[in-house]
Subunit: 372 residues, 2 copies
DNA sequence: TTGAAAGCGCTAACAC
DNA sequence: GTGTTAGCGCTTTCAA
């Protein structure tokens, strides 16, 4: 290929994405694809024998099996999975569908983390991962991936404001598992943490730290956030308290919105000395907004986040947060889906929730774990 | 977890506490899958006509086309893409392969962001996205996805320490595009930013801010990081300076390592008043480590990161960084891949690089763009 | 304009 | 053990 292109003298003018302009150098060789018949001919056996040898059929003696396997590898032959799936009527692919409510792009690192662990679990089972998105406007993607044969089942990440939207695929017989909060109206199995407990632990911790007026930053309409809010109320109620409505800041998950809402709330905010955010990303944003106004964390306000994404322990001050065990989650989602694929009806799973106490909520505590 | 039959083998079984959903409620119906023959029978036409109608073949009059389309939708029929691909010998799927050098899990938010934009561009083209990973031990994944017919081409994110590993798939005729640095030895087209320029802009900015001793935090073996380091040297050289070797901290991208290396470097560090990190995640970590030791940013040390991930502008202090236009990148990668699929030989693309000046590098500057 | 028929690349009875 | 054969669900000549 040509050597790396010369640098644009002015980087701004260099929106030079004219990729399609192809240099007519070495023609990309068509790469004639091998197929089973070729291997059969080369090995002097029938196609059926090659198929059996390559799939380790017991009837084929080890000697020929090895010979054929070796031959196949030497010519870079790979069985066409599409054709095999068609014939076997069995797709070794799972769709992972990320729900986006307002067509915003995925951005929360928590999602990537969960996705990574799902990928691990799927890999381990020999399944491929088809990544898709769905919005409230196009909720059918989930169903389609299975009905058009691209995937055997679907793992859904995130929930719509109205979780019932997800009942439809389930009713149509789509094998699916959902990450999120378990609500009574759901027909599908979910894997998640105990959000109410998480909210409770976070809030109780703040109360124990001496906070008197704890604000809540999150979106009520969102099922998980709402449960965390319930935990927030319970922790208060347990002490005979009731948080003032003015302390509740209703904000969607997107960072941009969070900053704006929180900043404008601050201008007319009642006094507060604690803040519980329904995600770490929100917490980071809130802390930054406060810092700009001279409000110091944890000195003036103690903060607790949610998720325990990597960032939470990497920023300064490090963020006290409610941990969601993303590794177990990925595993449980995949296990559950395979159970469904075998016709079972897996239960929903509630994963353990732990409060990670860090700097943002206490002036002198080392990073560590605090069990409920 | 009390399911009778389907207890997912939870590695930390004791940890799983509660179960909240139903067990034998909704009967998971087998969901007899429709196929084209069924639609044909229902519509009183042949399979061929259904196929043509559904794919908008011009020979079919609009009336019958609509009738069949409507019928298909009313019974939730979806064309089996696997079978269609097989027949058409044309897979509408692209594999996105994330390279992991040390089998670590993906974690940098930059990756997720890029992935999201690739997904957008692919969606728009009507292609599905197969997510895969490859490590130095298993670099063949890239080739396999195409050779076994699962994907038409591959987009590779990240580069190995030895980018030449990626030449093999290219030589085998695998259509592929790579995100990363363009090096002379590469046979494949890449999309990336001008890393040398980025490093230069970052360092020059620090010098302009009055920094005298600027440390470099990054991994030399990594192609992109190394180019940024070259820019770092050039900015110095331009002023007749040469950074002391002790100011170079060689650290892999993983946050854990970064903290450790940087912290131990700090204990015996020479004086420094500037720090250029090859990623924003590293910058955030470094700032936190310094904060723990009472080193304030930007007061004592001015910091510049790289990537401009969302977090960079959300933390406090917000991070001055070199922006990588992830939206253009996703687009260019996909465009380039499609060019290859059409037998063209796209050039490598260098995307514009801009320095985003924020709080971490100047005591009193508002968030904004600073042209080079 | 529509239908019949021949495969796409592979697997699995069912023979031998 | 191995080969023959009949499809998997669809698209597309080719004929009508």
């Amino acid at each position: 290929m040509t050597s790396p292109r010369s640098r644009p003298s002015d980087p701004h003018a260099a929106a030079s994405s004219d990729v399609s302009a192809s240099s007519a150098s070495a023609p990309l060789r068509p790469a004639k694809r091998m197929q089973m018949g070729d291997i059969a001919r080369l090995a002097g056996v029938s196609i059926a024998t090659v198929s059996r040898a390559l799939s380790g059929h017991p009837a084929i003696p080890a000697a020929t099996r090895d010979r054929i396997t070796e031959l196949a590898r030497s010519v870079n032959y790979q069985v066409n999975v599409g054709a095999a799936s068609l014939r076997k009527r069995d797709v070794k692919t799972v769709a992972v569908c990320i729900l986006v409510d307002r067509l915003q792009s995925i951005s929360d690192p928590f999602i990537l983390s969960l996705l990574g662990h799902i990928a691990d679990a799927l890999d381990q089972r020999g399944y491929a991962l088809l990544l898709t998105r769905a919005s409230t406007e196009q909720p059918d993607t989930i169903t389609h991936m299975v009905e058009n044969g691209q995937a055997a089942g679907v793992i859904v990440i995130g929930q719509f404001i109205h979780p019932d939207h997800l009942n439809a695929p389930m009713l149509r017989g789509v094998p699916m598992m959902v990450w999120g909060a378990a609500l009574p109206s759901m027909l599908y199995p979910v894997v998640g943490t105990d959000n109410e407990l998480g909210g409770y632990l976070a809030t109780r911790h703040l109360l124990e730290q001496g906070c008197q007026r704890i604000a809540f930053l999150g979106e009520h309409q969102h099922p998980e956030a709402d449960l965390r809010h319930a935990g927030y109320r319970r922790a208060h109620a347990e002490r005979g308290l009731m948080p003032a409505p003015q302390l509740e800041i209703n904000s969607p998950f997107e960072p941009g919105h969070t900053r704006q809402r929180f900043a404008s709330w601050l201008t007319q905010a009642p006094e507060f000395d604690g803040l519980f955010c329904v995600s770490d990303v929100m917490a980071v944003n809130a802390i930054a907004v406060m810092a700009e106004r001279g409000i110091r964390v944890p000195h003036h306000v103690k903060v607790v986040g949610y998720d325990d994404v990597a960032m939470a322990s990497h920023v300064h001050p490090s963020i006290t947060t409610v941990r969601q065990p993303v590794d177990l989650a990925g595993f449980a989602l995949v296990e559950g889906l395979f159970a469904m694929l075998q016709g079972q009806r897996p239960d929903s799973t509630v994963l353990p929730t732990v409060l990670m106490v860090r700097e943002s909520s206490s002036d002198s505590v080392e990073d560590g774990t605090h069990a409920p």
